[in-house]
Structures are given as structure tokens and as C-alpha cells.
Symmetry: C2
């Protein structure tokens, strides 16, 4: 049990859809719901996925309502699904349908706005009919409304399966209700690191004894770096945020420069923020990454303020002609070498007038390796007025991963240099 506390209220999820159990599509809702519900101090004790079969769904709903205070259904509410969830609810809650005029008005408006004063199709029109015993969850993001229904001490929410619509209704109706009834809050913060293995990270973090009770730290390795998740169980949101701040500074002391951001922040946003703050411009010279570093930097809105331009110099010729890399460097050391990476970073600054230049040259694989220069060997260089810094890596994954690693390492080297 995550809470170590059997008195926590419980929730169960019931996921409805043939396409889920047959592996046709991934269930993207359960992880979202599991994480969000958890934050309200409610334990998700079971998730059941079933097909579009009325008797099986009914059986699942019945058992879930017996075991849990909160039951959240997703899926089976679309007009293309024969409204199977709605008919199961009618039977289980022993009630009929009523017409909801607000849903009807919303559908009218939605189709009118789709141009040429379109009429609501007959198949969609049935969405106005809702279970008599349900409170309607009005859905601005789609045609299927959700439902809230009560059974004894338990609350059932039935939400559409389209992730965007499901999330919308969860945040509008379910979350606030859970918060209003909650006596404790489970809050999280993600601290993002780059450049450390999971084992090295824990060595640096050391003993967790200084942390308060009910503050836990978990490491989540990903191929681009280890994220550290701080979780606290608190009596109020305020108290929780305070304890997250405490744990964050604890980690900041121990991991210092390996941390580049938190929660949703990306490495390219961090680099962009630093460039903006220092009024610097940047240019890229990519070989093995083929444009990925430029792509990531320009994912950030407003990046044209500091990103000047990029070169994908995939051939030796391009390295020489575009960036002025001396041919003798390539002849003597090879295109995948520190001198060439350095010359690329210096060259891209000279040619474009940018303040900072990033370069990457490597052997992404699967072919092209040799005994002396194995697949994965990559040189990353960053140049600015203070000089040129080059680092050697040997990545040990497949082509796609090696390229992602190289781009991440390049952005990180730029971050450290600009900082």
C-alpha cells in the first residue's frame, strides 16, 4: 500500500472498450486518473479494463461500488459505441432517460459553429438523453456528456474515453469534488536532472533522514536523465507545498548543477531562458543529430529571439564549405573527433555571428563503427567568447536513442557553459 494506511478512502477505475483489451489502442486515461486521484489522498486500489459487453461491465461496476467510495468509469459514451455504458447505468441504477435541454443547446451551438449552420446528426442527438438519476457533467470539448450517480455511500463518475474530454470533465467536476471531501493531500514535484546515472544520483543524495515524515523521494530514470519525484502527504495544500519546497532545497544542495528544472520544464526551455537573460544568441552545427538539436531549441515559442540558425552538415564536404572546418583536421583525426567537433562549434559562431555555438558529431549506428571508433562514439562541443569546451561520449543504445542522447548532452553542455 502506498499510503501505508488502510483508512484512506478508495477509488476504483473501470475502463470500457474493445479497442483497449484487444491492444488496438493504449489506455491513456488510467495513468492520468491514477496520478490525479492519488494527489487527493485517495488510494486507487484496482483498475479493471473490459470490452463492450453489457453484462461484464455491469458486473465490474457492481463489484467496484461494493469495494470503493469512488468509482470512475471511462469510455463507452460515444455515439459510435451504441452508448453501451449509458444503457448499463440505466439498468444498474434502475431508471429511465430524460432529455437534458442544456446538452441539446450545447450540441446545437457546437454544430452551428462548425460552419454553414450544420444540423446535429441524429446519431449525436441521442446524447441529449441522460439517465434520470444522474447529475450531468457538461462537456465543452466533445459531444458526450458525463454522469455523476450515487449508490449508498459511493459516488460513481462516468466519463468519455477521449483523453482530452476525460481530463476536461475530471478537472471540472471530479477533482473539485474529491478535494472538497478530502482530509489530506498527496502532492508531488518532479526535479529533473541530467548527466547522472541513477546509482550516482543516490550516492550524491545520501541519507534521507533530514527529511520530514511522510515526505518520500523516488527516482524515475528515463533515457534522457533521472527525474526525482518528491511526494508529500499533508493536511492542507499549503502545508504540502511548504514541505515540497523544503525537500527541493535538500535535493538542490546535494545535486546542485545536475538539476536543470522541475515539473514540466524542458532542457531547451532552460537553455532558452539563460540565453534570453544574458542577451546571447546561439547557432547549431549538427552532424549525427541531423537537426534534432535545432528542432528542440525551436520547440520553445519565441526562440527566434535567441536562435540564429543551424546547419545540418551531414557530409565532410558540408563541414568544410559551410563551417570552414579545415580538411586536414578531418583527414588527420576523422570527422568524428574532438578537433572536428571544436572546429564546427567555432565555425558556426564565425559564420553566423552567434555568441554561442553547439556542435555534435558521432556514429549513431547501427553501421559505421570500427574498433577504434565504436558505434555510439560522439563528440559534443560548445564554443563562446570564453573558449571551446568539448566532451566525448560513448552511447550504447540504438540509432534513435543514441541521437536523442547526443542532443540532450549537447543542450546540457550549452546550459553549463552559459550558466
Amino acid at each position: 500500500m502506498i499510503f501505508g494506511d488502510s483508512k484512506s478512502p478508495r477509488a476504483e477505475l473501470v475502463v470500457i472498450g474493445d479497442e483497449i483489451i484487444s491492444g488496438l489502442i493504449a489506455d491513456k486515461n488510467s495513468q492520468y486518473l491514477g496520478a490525479r486521484i492519488h494527489e487527493f489522498g485517495i488510494e486507487v486500489s484496482r483498475i479493471t479494463a473490459v470490452g463492450d459487453a453489457a453484462s461484464v461491465i455491469e458486473d465490474c461496476v457492481k463489484l467496484a461500488l461494493q469495494r470503493a467510495e469512488w468509482v470512475v468509469l471511462t469510455g463507452g459514451l460515444g455515439a459510435t459505441h451504441d452508448d453501451i455504458t449509458k444503457s448499463v447505468l440505466l439498468k444498474f441504477f434502475e431508471c429511465g432517460l430524460k432529455k437534458d435541454s442544456k446538452v441539446a443547446a450545447m450540441l446545437d451551438a457546437m454544430f452551428r459553429n462548425r460552419g454553414q449552420g450544420q444540423e446535429v446528426p441524429a446519431s449525436v442527438r441521442s446524447q441529449c438523453e441522460v439517465p434520470e438519476k444522474a447529475e450531468v457533467l457538461y462537456n465543452e470539448k466533445g459531444t458526450a456528456p458525463g454522469f455523476k450517480m450515487l449508490k449508498g455511500k459511493s459516488i460513481l463518475f462516468s466519463l468519455p474515453g477521449v483523453p482530452m474530454e476525460m481530463q476536461h470533465l475530471f478537472e471540472k467536476y471530479v477533482g473539485p469534488e474529491m478535494a472538497s471531501r478530502g482530509e489530506k493531500f498527496f502532492l508531488h514535484r518532479l526535479i529533473k536532472t541530467v548527466g547522472l546515472t541513477e546509482a550516482d544520483l543516490w550516492t550524491k543524495v545520501g541519507s534521507l533522514k533530514a527529511l520530514q515524515e511522510k515526505t518520500t523521494i523516488a527516482s524515475l530514470p528515463s533515457h534522457l536523465g533521472v527525474r526525482v519525484r518528491i511526494s508529500v502527504l499533508a493536511k492542507s495544500k499549503q502545508e504540502g507545498e511548504l514541505r515540497l519546497d523544503e525537500a527541493e532545497s535538500f535535493l538542490a544542495q546535494r545535486l546542485s548543477n545536475y538539476i536543470y528544472g522541475k515539473d514540466e520544464e524542458t532542457l531547451e526551455e532552460k537553455v532558452g531562458g539563460l540565453l534570453r537573460k544574458k542577451s546571447l544568441t546561439l547557432a547549431t552545427a549538427e552532424s549525427c543529430t541531423g537537426g534534432l538539436i535545432g528542432h528542440r531549441l525551436t520547440q520553445v515559442s519565441g526562440s527566434s529571439d535567441y536562435y540564429k540558425e543551424g546547419f545540418v552538415v551531414y557530409s565532410n564536404d558540408a563541414k568544410v564549405v559551410r563551417l570552414g572546418v579545415e580538411p586536414r583536421l578531418i583527414e588527420e583525426f576523422g570527422a568524428v573527433s574532438a578537433p572536428v567537433a571544436e572546429a564546427m562549434a567555432q565555425g558556426v559562431c564565425r559564420v553566423t555571428g552567434a555568441d554561442v555555438g553547439i556542435s555534435a558529431t558521432g556514429i549513431a549506428g547501427p553501421s559505421g563503427g570500427s574498433e577504434l571508433k565504436p558505434v555510439g562514439l560522439t563528440y559534443i562541443a560548445v564554443h563562446d567568447r570564453s573558449g571551446t569546451h568539448c566532451k566525448k561520449f560513448i552511447f550504447t543504445h540504438d540509432r534513435g536513442r543514441n541521437r536523442e542522447h547526443a542532443a540532450q548532452a549537447a543542450l546540457n553542455l550549452a546550459r553549463l557553459k552559459i550558466q
Copy 2:
């Protein structure tokens, strides 16, 4: 029911792990298992995810074995999980542990190979102890063996939760067993299209009456194009493949040039294949896509044979200096315009000597739009010896999606031009 046939054998999956139900990590195993088991003509009727609580797991296993002929457990076999799944199995199957010498030998060898003749840690050593009534599934990809156990007419497989290990043991033991007992095969093929909406695709496909019985067609829209999934239920693999071929030519007749590949094939592989076949080279000139087109083209191993180089010309200046775009074009029509896109594609061929040039210029958003030139407006051009072709798009998503759309449209325009 997907099979429309209640006589199909059934399988249930039980997913074990606190980290799954609390939304800490996504369950990546169920979709894989759902899809693979389905291919053996076995219906997955229920997937249940539960935490690391022995009594709940036992309850789930019991019910699943009552309802289904095949039960597959994933997770809870690692040494860090207190071996909770194994202890549940011991209790449920009423048996003790025995030492498996082959597992012991495999662990010894595994740790020896990790360098310096490392010893097997005590925590891992317990993996040699297996349930007396189990057939052991030897795991070459990790330290946790899987188990096969029989209960009445049902077969239970317990597999580790690490996706790579789970897949390895499924393919080595579970799949072959399912195939050997199966009387029918459920086969799939994905046909990939680009440039059509789902509605337009179905209009072009028209009536499905020409298809044989038990051949079904489903459309799977994604933001980069609609994939069409052909499914057949057949008595042998050979018969199934034949019927897939039939359905594929049926679709090829109706969708012709909108189809670019099948199954795992990507658009960049298709473009690369065409370039190679015709001995042509290609260069890219990217503005709004920031390097993504180059990145995708160079994802293909061996792409250096036909990909010459790329320019990320994010500023007007770079468009003029690098590619020779005439400044008066930018002044008169703006950087996001057909004449500039065309000049970029022509310029990148002239400057690099490539046979084919691709360019993209647009407003990815969220800012930068105007009434005349809204966010999402994008011009893509492709130039070769036969001339320049330019196409205008208005993408209506967020920045990230708009850029992905633009790169996809650019690769597709190149495909059509080279073809």
C-alpha cells in the same frame, strides 16, 4: 465482442504493481499482450491492475482462473518487490519452494559477465527458489524467471513486469503454447496513409462488400495521417496472409497514392528508398520546422547516401545569405509565403548541388499570427529538375503539433514529387 463469437477461448491479464495503479508509471505491457494474444484467436476479456497487496492479488488470480482458460500475470517478480507475486502463487497453489539449479547457473553467469567476477547479491539469489508446482520460464534478459502453472483446465503464466523481459518470455514460452493450442489465427496488417482525413478516406474506400467474410477494416486516425488496420480471422497463418494480401490490394486500388507504406514503415524510409532507387540526393531548408525534417530523414540508417545537408534558416537574414532568397520577395510577400518557400527550395538545390530540395516556412504559434496570416499557415515547397511545387496548409493545433504536421506534409510532398 470483437470476435462476434462467444466460443473463442478467453484470456485475462492481471497487472501487479503500486506504481501502475498510482499512475507513477504507465502500464506498457497490457497493450502488447492484448494485441499479441488476440492474434492467436484468443479473446482478452478482462485486464485487472492491482497494487502490491497479497490478498487483493490472490482474489484477482482466483476469479481470473475461474473465468478464463489463459491467465497472464505481469509484475511483482523482482527482488525489490518482496517477491509478492511468488508468495501469492505459493499460497494459492498450495506448494512450497524448490531450488532451480539452471536459474542459479544463469544468475552466476550473468553477474560474472558484468565484470570483475561479481558475486550474485543475496537479494537476487532468492530468484533461484521457485514454486514446486511451477514450470520455470528461463529469462535471459533479466534476473527474474517466470512461471507456468496449471489449475483445472486453465493455464497461468506469471511474467516479470519489465517490458523487455516480459516480451522475451511471452515470445519464448506463452506465444508458442497459445499457437500450438489454437484453432484459428487473428492476423493484422497496418496500411499507412497521409494527406486524407478519416471521413475522406472512407468516402474513397466505399463499400466493403467485396471483402471476404471475417475480414474487417478499421481506421486509426493519428495526427500524422490515418492508418488502416486490416484484420482477418483464419484457420491457418497462410490462409490469413493470403486474405490480408487480398484486402491490401482492395485498399491500394481505392487509396492509391495516399498510401505510403505498411506496418512499421515510416514516411522518411519511403522517401529514402525512392531517392536511393533513383540515385538522387536531397537537401532541406527549414524555417518553422527548425530541423525536424532533417532529423526525420537522418533517422534512417544509411541516409548519408542521399541526404546532402540541411539549413535551419530561422531568420530572414539566414534565408537571404545562405539560400540566396531575394530580399524583395520577403519584403513584398513576407517570409511566410509561397514565393519565399519556392525560393528556399530552389536555393538549397543551387547552393548544395542536391537533386531535390525541400523547404518549409510557416507560423507554428502560439504567437506571431495575424488576420491575414493566421497561426498554422505554412508553405511547403519541393524543387527538382522538373520544376518547383508549392502547397499551402493551415494547421490548427498547438506549436508542437503544427511543426510535426509541417514536417509530415513536407516529406509527403517530396515522396509524391520523386515518385
